[in-house]
């Protein structure tokens, strides 16, 4: 995935040569491992930053906003069922943020409830991935991440 372009190449910003940053907001250790597996299985060259709950996520967004030089992620992977601050609150916060408003957000959740899908879409989620119960099926997540980064 890494784009090998000389730094001085005209018309390209510094961003395009850095490894894409993906922020994963997920409190479950078991799922963090599976997300890593999915990324590895598709040989995606990305930097994965893990935030374990909603507060860490909102704190992260606040930092990006206050610090212009801080790198903006290319993709958020967001679990809905987080302790205290819910995934939906984090999603709204991302969409309200000036720098992250247009960053794709992939909701990654156990829920298959129509309500949750509809609410995610209404709040501006880019895509929705229901965590499957099979290992191979979970690895499909890598494919979706690949598409969202393209």
């Amino acid at each position: 995935m890494r784009v090998k372009v000389p730094l001085h190449y005209p018309g390209l910003s510094k961003m395009s040569v850095t490894i894409p940053l993906i922020v994963l907001i997920e409190d479950s250790q078991t799922d963090v491992f599976l997300v890593k597996e999915a990324i590895a299985a598709h040989r995606l060259d990305v930097e994965l930053h893990i935030l374990e709950d909603g507060e860490q996520a909102t704190g992260f967004i606040a930092r990006i906003e206050s610090d212009e030089s801080a790198a903006c992620p290319r993709l958020f992977l967001l679990d809905l069922n987080l302790p205290r601050t819910s995934g939906f609150e984090v999603l709204s916060r991302i969409r309200q943020s000036e720098r992250c408003a247009s960053v794709p957000v992939l909701v990654v959740t156990s829920s298959d409830a129509e309500k949750d899908r509809a609410k995610s879409a209404a709040l501006g989620a880019t895509a929705y991935f229901r965590k499957p119960s099979g290992y191979e099926a979970f690895l499909k997540l890598g494919e979706i991440i690949h598409e969202l980064l393209a």
Binding site: T30, D31, S110, S111, D112, A113, S133
Partner: protein
């Protein structure tokens, strides 16, 4: 038990002529019955909307327009409410005229005519009867509210269950798979068997959770009938979902003409899918035939899913619709025991009925009705 505002037991009085209203109010006050006098029919409707136990109305205060306006308000009452009226009529009228007048008041629905001059005890018994009826209506409201709340709670519970319980189960499922993938070589036969028990247990639990959620969703189907749809659409979708099982079983399926029904597509699809799925699952050795038909019967459509499978013994015909109810071991026929319970829940929410006609070893006929 539930909120009942102070205004809900008061007696509204509309009797604009002379001292009628005042006298009535005094009579009722002496009986410890709260009253509120309304100067005209328009205000009466406003007061009714705020809440009342009953209303006493002198018939001269009701023009045909007023009756219509009142009827419009009555039509907007919630289902539990049927506001009782006591109408004071003129005295000594020929019975033909009284009959005509009663017909004019027909739109009021729940009313009693009392001829003037009214004896106090006649008034008291009439008002007490009306208030008593009204109290019954409030009790009905409480029960309906409790029911709505209970359904909402069940839905919420099932949602949390599917969400929160599913997470750990999914982990067990995936990680038992990973364990098998990476470490199976280090396990002996017994270890491998244990691992497969863990995996199939987790998968079964997931199926149960999914069905529990469907059941809860079916419980919260709203009372308003949706726009009519052709039953063929959800039927085809159900058959498509089952296409793998249909192919594997070699079932031949015939479908009759399907009507338009007022149901949500997803609900009818689920009913068909569960019934056809059962027909496939509980088949015999011989070639399986499934027949889906529908015909008009009186005020509803009667749907029928008929098979030549193993059939159901008489004593289980009711039990099979119970939740988590199963007649077979998981080894013989796998399942959660929720399929028919979900069907029943859906059909009943649409004011239909579902039952089975069957003989052990001679196939089953699952029938359900949906109002036409």
């Amino acid at each position: 038990m539930f909120r009942r505002s102070a205004s809900e037991m008061r007696v509204l009085i509309l009797a604009p002529l002379g001292r009628d209203a005042r006298l009535l109010a005094d009579t009722l006050a002496a009986l410890d019955i709260e009253t509120k006098i309304s100067p005209d029919a328009k205000i009466l409707i406003a007061l009714l909307a705020e809440g009342a136990g009953t209303a006493i109305v002198a018939e001269e205060a009701l023009t045909a327009d007023h009756v219509q306006a009142l009827a419009a308000w009555l039509a907007s009452q919630p289902p539990w409410s049927d506001m009782p009226f006591v109408i004071l009529t003129h005295s000594g009228r020929p019975s033909a005229e009284s009959k005509r007048r009663a017909q004019e008041l027909e739109p009021l629905g729940n009313f009693t005519l009392i001829e003037r001059p009214v004896r106090p005890e006649t008034m008291e018994t009439a008002i007490r009867a009306a208030l008593r009826a009204r109290v019954r209506q409030y009790e009905m409201r409480s029960r309906q509210e409790a029911l709505i709340q209970a359904n909402a709670d069940l839905e919420q519970f099932a949602h949390s269950a599917s969400h929160d319980l599913r997470e750990p189960i999914r982990s067990i499922s995936v990680y038992s798979e990973l364990l098998k993938k990476h470490y199976e070589q280090f396990l002996d036969l017994r270890g491998k068997e244990f691992l497969s028990f863990i995996h199939s247990g987790a998968q079964r639990m997931e199926g149960l959770l999914a069905d529990m959620l469907s059941y809860a969703h079916a419980s919260s189907i709203s009372d308003d009938a949706p726009e009519p749809i052709c039953a063929r659409g959800p039927l085809d979708a159900a058959l498509e979902n089952l296409s793998g099982a249909i192919r594997e079983s070699g079932a031949s399926i015939t479908v009759g003409e399907m009507p338009m029904v007022r149901m949500r597509t997803s609900h009818l699809e689920q009913v068909f899918q569960n019934l056809v799925g059962n027909a496939i699952k509980y088949r015999r050795e011989e070639p399986l035939h499934i027949r889906l038909t529908a015909r008009r019967e009186d005020k509803h459509w009667l749907f029928c899913v008929e098979d030549n499978g193993i059939g159901i013994a008489l004593e289980y015909r009711k039990a099979i619709f119970g939740i988590f109810k199963r007649l077979h071991t998981n080894q013989a026929y796998s399942g959660t025991g929720m399929g028919l319970a979900i069907c029943q829940r859906i059909v009943e929410r649409y004011r239909g009925r579902i039952w089975v006609e069957s003989e052990l070893g001679c196939g089953s006929k699952f029938l359900f009705t949906i109002p036409a």
